[in-house]
Symmetry: C2
Subunit: 418 residues, 2 copies
């Protein structure tokens, strides 16, 4: 078969392909009998194959030039696989513990071969719906965010290194535009793509479209999303992009990666934890009221931010004499000043994170793509009740984010809405 | 002669070169006898030749791979000519009245052929030192800034167009780094490049290096300069980059062009007018106390911002149904909301402009490159007195810029310092 041009693979042609790629066939010990291949792409965009042989395994992810769940009528550049591979490698280099290894990348085929995250790894969102606690989650995710965001910012790099990489990721504009549309635009206007738990939330969705204060804030965040090249962000860091076990936390699927505001990643993760929190009442059953689990989620939210803050500052201290352009040692080398600039930086980042997090919550309730946390609540009136609380919190946070001085104040606001 | 590789030209080889370029030789009617060529590069970086024949004229600007005023020991990419040419053409397309025509560009030779701005055009800074009024200055410069900044921002363009151009100008990083160093870093630390009117300003220069509040603010501006791709800015819009007559205003030399914060251009222009203001007492002579001229400068400062604001809003209104990504008509199509977002946008831009303007003032007094406005004041104690006032104003504005609600409040602050 000819793989010198793009062709979408299936189970059969995939084996032929693997045979032509030493880095992959070596993983299988070059034994192809009894290989198991399973297509598991439950995302909206790509095909994902798990390949397991007797002496090794991997995952093959192939992008196709349209949105899988819609079909060829919604074209979407398959070059996204290139940016995903570059981001996986960059982030993996900075934080190998929480990013799966890339074994192989083929730009023509838009195909990534990478570590198979074996059972009991499951998607974090599924674990949150099932009410499972992950004791290391906040520790791992704060480490991932601190290392990847710090390491791709001008806190750590020279402007030369920074702008070269910024230029490259400008090429991933098509995926950025998708985010612009579904996060920052569609929820605030009438759009055929929008949906919500109707009729219960009809008035709530309308209220968002009529809320001038909210629209002023979302415009500021949208401009920041497009214009601010603060770090190489994952770009889609919700709880469906994270695989977990009790010991392991792995971040996958950075095909939306680009140079944007750090708060977009932090907010995505925290916002999706908050969505998970508000969905819990819908999953409560006799004998399991989810109360303790809700407290655990709140603790994760609080710990993630507080640990992130600590780890970012630690990295900053560690590398303060390095080539980072932002705070030259000859200017910022006194402890008092160091603390002043760190506090200012982190306060702004906190407010950014709250804003983006709230925007991500809103779009999951009245926009095109919803979250399983709510979707799996069968009773629509119950679901709408949960969603409305999340929406109220998100609106409050988006509009008043600058009034929050600590994550514990956010936790209090969440409790008050409940 | 071989022009297929870079070679620095002189008066003789330049004629040979022109003969090989139809767009240039045509300008001279293909008559080369009696052509006058004069090298006039009084800037720090390039060679500039005025070429005048009997039936036409132009200017040739050639970049060399080092800083002209220092020599080969300070290398500087000659690719800057490429970015200058692209910026001249982009800005010229958006604002043909105030950007000279480019006739020819040769990337290999790092050479631009462009309109000769014939006498009585002079550099604005020289006019300001001579005490000459230019009645159309505020009108022209506000038009130039509104059109070029609006037209290269996401107020006007789709994200796709925007990011393609952002990626290209990331290539001009070497010139950006020079600005980072001389504007945002060197003045705030001990640097061999720094100088000031010594010993008069020794304590003032030291005070800047010890001012934590100032350093906190300059860090924020530096990060914005590097990270915020708001518009294609000129990048060096001081009064030495503007040529004027009573009727004409032409902006030249955008070799520092890149995608950065709009306020960097606006601030450069306003900040240099403020420097001109504070230098006037040093140029006062018997019979000409410069008092009326100082009032004219203050009027120009006030009018430039107010007209810029008006023109930017007018462009925004005119194109509000266009492809600009920032404020989609379906979301922002009500007059009350439109006014809210415009006010917010322009308030932030005003504070940015004040911050960058102040930073540009400070670096011209205690950094490497000074301005003729002060340098031509022969008596050093007199000069230092003028410079100190400018420095005090700049420090105040940099630290308290968010407290200024209008340009007239800035004018009042300038008057108070005097």
């Amino acid at each position: 078969m000819d793989f010198s041009q793009f062709r979408p693979l299936d189970e059969t042609s995939l084996i032929e392909y693997i045979k032509t790629v030493p880095s992959l066939s070596d993983k299988l010990g070059n034994k192809f009998d009894g290989i198991e291949i399973k297509e598991v792409g439950d995302g909206n965009l790509n095909f994902v194959y798990i390949v397991v042989g007797s002496s090794g395994s991997f995952v093959i992810k192939q992008a196709i030039p349209y949105v899988r769940c819609i079909g060829e009528s919604w074209p979407m550049t398959k070059e996204r696989a290139y940016f995903e591979a570059v981001a996986l490698r960059k982030h993996g280099h900075l934080c190998p513990n929480h990013v799966p290894d890339v074994y192989h990348f083929d730009r023509t085929m838009s195909l990534i071969g990478m570590r198979y995250l074996e059972p009991p790894h499951i998607i974090l969102r599924k674990g949150l719906i099932a009410g499972i606690e992950y004791p290391l989650l906040a520790d791992h995710m704060s480490e991932y965010m601190a290392k990847t965001l710090f390491g791709t910012s001008i806190l750590y790099n020279s402007t030369t290194v920074h702008k070269e990489s910024v230029a490259e990721f400008c090429g991933n504009v098509e995926l950025c535009r998708l985010t612009e549309q579904v996060v920052f635009s569609d929820p605030y206007k009438v759009s055929e793509h929008n949906r919500w738990t109707s009729p219960y939330l009809d008035r709530d969705a309308e209220a968002i479209r009529e809320d001038n204060d909210l629209k002023v804030e979302i415009a500021e965040l949208k401009a920041k999303f497009i214009e601010r090249t603060q770090a190489l962000v994952h770009g889609d860091l919700h709880t469906g992009s994270i695989m977990v076990t009790q010991e392991s936390t792995q971040v996958i699927d950075p095909e939306f990666a680009f140079y944007g505001p750090m708060g977009f990643d932090i907010g995505a993760f925290l916002g999706n934890l908050i969505l998970a929190f508000f969905s819990q009442d819908g999953h409560a059953v006799e004998g399991n009221d989810r109360k303790a689990y809700k407290e655990w989620i709140l603790r994760m939210i609080e710990e993630t931010w507080n640990l992130f803050r600590k780890k970012l500052v630690a990295l900053w201290e560690l590398h303060k004499d390095g080539p980072g352009e932002a705070y030259l040692p000859a200017i910022y080398n006194n402890p008092e000043l160091q603390q002043l600039v760190q506090n200012k930086y982190l306060t702004e980042l906190f407010h950014d994170s709250l804003g983006f997090g709230a925007a991500k919550m809103i779009r999951r309730i009245v926009g095109v793509a919803h979250v399983a946390d709510f979707e799996t609540i069968k009773d629509p009136s119950k679901r709408a009740e949960c969603e409305r609380q999340a929406l109220e919190l998100a609106k409050l946070v988006l509009k008043k984010r600058r009034n929050f001085n600590s994550i514990s104040q956010v936790i209090s606001a969440i409790r008050e809405i409940q």
